[in-house]
């Protein structure tokens, strides 16, 4: 046999051997000849903002693994990546056993429940029903169009709402008393206060403050903050919901149209009058945080308290800023004097119909949502998230005091952020997002329908009433397609 032929045969053999090794060593890849495997629980998790969050999950996973004698494989993905990984895994019919993704609530799980891709977790929910804050639990009750029924398709673990943070020293620089109790509590006075702060700062030192703005209001269509802000304002103006609790799209009601127009007018005016950075049109979710930390905006509305937390942990800024230069205040009363609505985004654990170890996944979730384990995880996020269980939110003093212990070192008595932020969940009316009433609305969030038309008004001077009518028409189209 000639040398070349020998080489050819060797190469062919190596290739075939490589293929065989894949088949034999990793039988699940090809799905053939699979030998019995030790049980493995696969968890895909949204990477936390802080290392402590991830560590808390890892500890819980290890503990569970020891208890059950199984191997728990935890993979962390960034907030942006995990939805794509899950979408691809579902398409390939190989999803993880348990998944946790920060953006699942608005855009993913309502669709997946509708398509029958999620496992019914009513058994876990029923065991824990008494512990749940009812509005938070409501978000897990979704419609399965395949089976034609409503049921619990996810297990809520934590929630967020929008908080307002501001730089006290910039307010003082403008000549106002910056203490939180002095910030106006009524609608017009509240907003005019921030506008006046900007005006005064610029009048005082035009060069220094020419690029400092009153408010950082995210308007980018790629952000979730933009629609969070939008719907918060809508709930202030609305006397009727866009989608009724029985799932009816209500946009033909003149009261809804009127509230939408007022919401558009409010945001457009805020931006066009120059009290919001022009660049906010392209802001993604982290950009308002960055602008605030850079002290280029005096006040910022932001879901979760990630902004003060970043200062506390020194990711940016300092603990001194956290205790002395910044403050968190509640939203003002509405234009009609009503208490502010608390729009809550609830984050949940998912098990998929195609998950390999559904029963084990349920056992893990039962363990993870037990009071002590979940509380440890939630607290590790430094108060960024709020517990959805009453026995945690109302019993652990952390959610009343925050980091009070460290305050004295900076000459203050109280934590200026966490108690205010958590009090928002205990007072006023909690309001889930509209996808709870009809899953089609999750597509309105995915498309950012209201924000796209809001941008159109700002960019093209498009008339607000026409933009609202066109946006309504688009929302109707979306709902019509969900049959």
């Amino acid at each position: 046999m000639k040398r070349a032929t020998i080489i050819g045969v060797v190469v062919a053999v190596v290739v075939i051997a490589a293929l065989l090794s894949i088949v034999l060593v990793q039988p699940r890849i090809l799905g053939i000849g699979a030998a019995p495997q030790p049980t493995k629980l696969v968890i895909w998790w949204n990477k936390g903002y802080y290392a402590e969050e991830d560590l808390a999950l890892m500890e819980a996973a290890q503990e569970f693994g020891k208890m059950k004698g199984v191997f728990v494989e935890v993979s962390f993905f960034t907030t942006e990546d995990i939805p794509k990984k899950l979408i691809a895994a579902l398409e390939a019919r190989s999803p993880p056993d348990v998944a946790y993704a920060h953006f699942e609530d608005w855009m993913l799980s309502p669709r997946w429940a509708w398509d029958g891709l999620l496992e019914d977790v009513s058994d876990i929910i029923n065991e824990n029903k008494q512990r749940y804050i009812s509005e938070a639990l409501q978000t897990a009750y979704l419609y399965n169009n395949k089976e034609g029924k409503y049921s619990y398709y996810k297990v809520p673990i934590q929630m967020q709402t929008i908080h307002i943070h501001y730089w006290k020293d910039l307010v003082a620089e403008a000549g106002f008393d910056p203490s939180p109790e002095k910030i106006p509590k009524t609608w017009n006075e509240f907003w005019n206060f921030w506008f006046t702060v900007q005006d005064k700062l610029r009048a005082k030192d035009p060069e220094k403050y020419k690029n400092v703005y009153a408010i950082g209001w995210t308007l980018g269509t790629g952000s979730t903050d933009a629609f969070y802000n939008f719907e918060t304002i809508y709930h202030y103006y609305a006397t009727k919901p866009i989608v009724t609790p029985d799932g009816k799209l209500n946009v033909d009601d003149p009261a809804v149209r009127e509230a939408l127009i007022k919401t558009f007018e409010f945001i457009v005016n805020l931006h066009k009058r120059g009290y919001n950075p022009e660049g906010a049109l392209t802001w993604a979710d982290p950009d308002n945080n960055a602008a605030f930390h850079a002290r280029t905006i005096v006040m910022v509305p932001n879901p979760t308290i990630s902004i003060p937390a970043a200062q506390y942990f020194g990711a940016v800024g300092s603990r001194e800023n956290y205790y002395t230069k910044m403050a968190t205040v509640d939203w003002p009363k509405g234009p009609d004097g009503r208490d502010p609505p608390r729009l809550i985004a609830v984050k949940s654990l998912l098990i998929f119909k195609d998950s390999k170890n559904k029963e084990l996944a349920k056992e893990f979730i039962r363990y993870f949502i037990s009071k002590d384990v979940l509380n440890k995880y939630t607290k590790a996020s430094a108060g960024r998230w709020a517990p959805v269980f009453k026995d945690i939110l109302n019993e652990d003093k952390f959610y009343f005091e925050g980091f009070k212990a460290g305050a004295k070192a900076f000459g203050v008595e109280e934590d200026p952020h966490i108690p205010v932020a958590y009090n928002q969940f205990r007072t006023g009316r909690l309001q889930p997002f509209y996808y709870v009433y009809h899953p089609a609305y999750s597509q309105v969030y995915a498309e950012r329908t209201w924000i796209v038309y809001l941008n159109k008004v700002i960019l093209e001077n498009y008339p607000i009433d026409k933009a609202v009518d066109e946006a309504i028409a688009r929302v109707k189209q979306i709902f019509a397609a969900w049959k």
């Binding site: 000639k2 070349a4 032929t5 080489i7 050819g8 045969v9 190469v11 062919a12 290739v15 293929l19 939805p83 794509k84 979408i87 398409e91 855009m107 993913l108 669709r111 690029n211 703005y213 980018g220 269509t221 790629g222 950075p277 022009e278 660049g279 049109l281 392209t282 993604a284 850079a294 280029t296 597509q443 995915a446 498309e447 950012r448 924000i451 796209v452 941008n455 159109k456 700002i458 960019l459």
Partner: protein
């Protein structure tokens, strides 16, 4: 070695590539085509006004980015031949830097530079008495940002190819032209360009194929903003698949581009084959 043995050896060596090509190119394409042909996904995509806007944007982006980049690369490759000047040598090293900078770092820096209120570009404009521009907050500004970043990032690569080709031109041709009193323009028109024109066309077509599917720069720089006006077909397909959970529409959008790419690839191969 017999013909049969040669074939066997060739096949054996090609096998790993063929397997990979089949698994990662042929199979996904066939699967996508199969999936897309099972519904009216294509017509749904084409009825979306955003599709036509994205198509227009893609055409504008490809036409401007590729042509500006190729023209600059051709000119700059000529400047790099003036190696007798030390500054040219130094500049030629610096000039390659954009190519070496990772795209994500480059794009994020560029976003900050173009920021309306605090970006260095607007600071410079203000310093010379001009009005700041809302680069990423307007359609025209954002498209200009996309094109300019692409040109900044990729011109060095194509400049190198032209520079290498210029090294292959016989110097005696230029010497003869100089003796005949030819100007630099005439040297370019009658010596350089005839030797480079096929490479220029080849590069333009190859770059067009790459840029039609370019995703990273538009996704990182504008993400379709402001107001979903700057989507290209690549980012729109991504939006369908991974934002709106309409994977089949996303696939059909990408498949729609394939015939266009195939035309360019066939033309390219014919041109390449003809010059071999």
């Amino acid at each position: 070695m017999s013909y049969k043995q040669t074939n066997f050896l060739g096949l054996a060596f090609s096998l790993p590539f063929l397997i990979i090509f089949a698994a990662f190119v042929v199979y996904p394409l066939l699967y996508s085509a199969l999936v897309v042909s099972s519904g009216d996904y294509l017509s749904r995509v084409m009825s979306d006004p955003l599709f036509w806007r994205s198509l227009t944007n893609t055409l504008i982006y490809v036409a401007l980015a590729v042509n500006i980049k190729m023209f600059l690369a051709l000119v700059l490759s000529g400047l790099l031949t003036f190696t007798q000047f030390r500054i040219v040598k130094v500049m030629s090293y610096l000039y390659l830097l954009p190519w070496a900078v990772p795209i994500i770092a480059g794009v994020l820096s560029y976003r900050w530079m173009l920021q309306k209120e605090w970006g260095i570009v607007n600071k410079f404009l203000s310093d010379i008495g001009l009005q700041p521009v809302n680069w990423l907050g307007s359609y025209e500004g954002a498209m200009a940002a996309l094109v300019s970043f692409h040109v900044w990032k990729w011109t060095p690569l194509w400049t190198l190819t032209f520079y290498a080709a210029r090294q292959g031109i016989d110097p005696s041709l230029y010497e003869a032209a100089k003796i005949d009193g030819a100007s630099m323009l005439k040297e370019f028109l009658y010596i350089t360009w005839p030797q480079l024109k096929y490479l220029y066309i080849f590069n333009t077509m190859l770059s067009t194929i790459w840029v039609i599917g370019e995703f990273d720069i538009p996704y990182l720089l504008t993400r379709g903003d402001p107001g979903e006006t700057t989507h290209l077909l690549s980012t729109l397909g991504f939006r369908y698949a991974f934002v709106l959970l309409r994977i089949r529409e996303g696939l059909s959008l990408y498949l729609l581009v394939i015939p266009v790419l195939l035309i360019f690839i066939i033309l390219l191969l014919r041109l390449f084959g003809g010059r071999r």
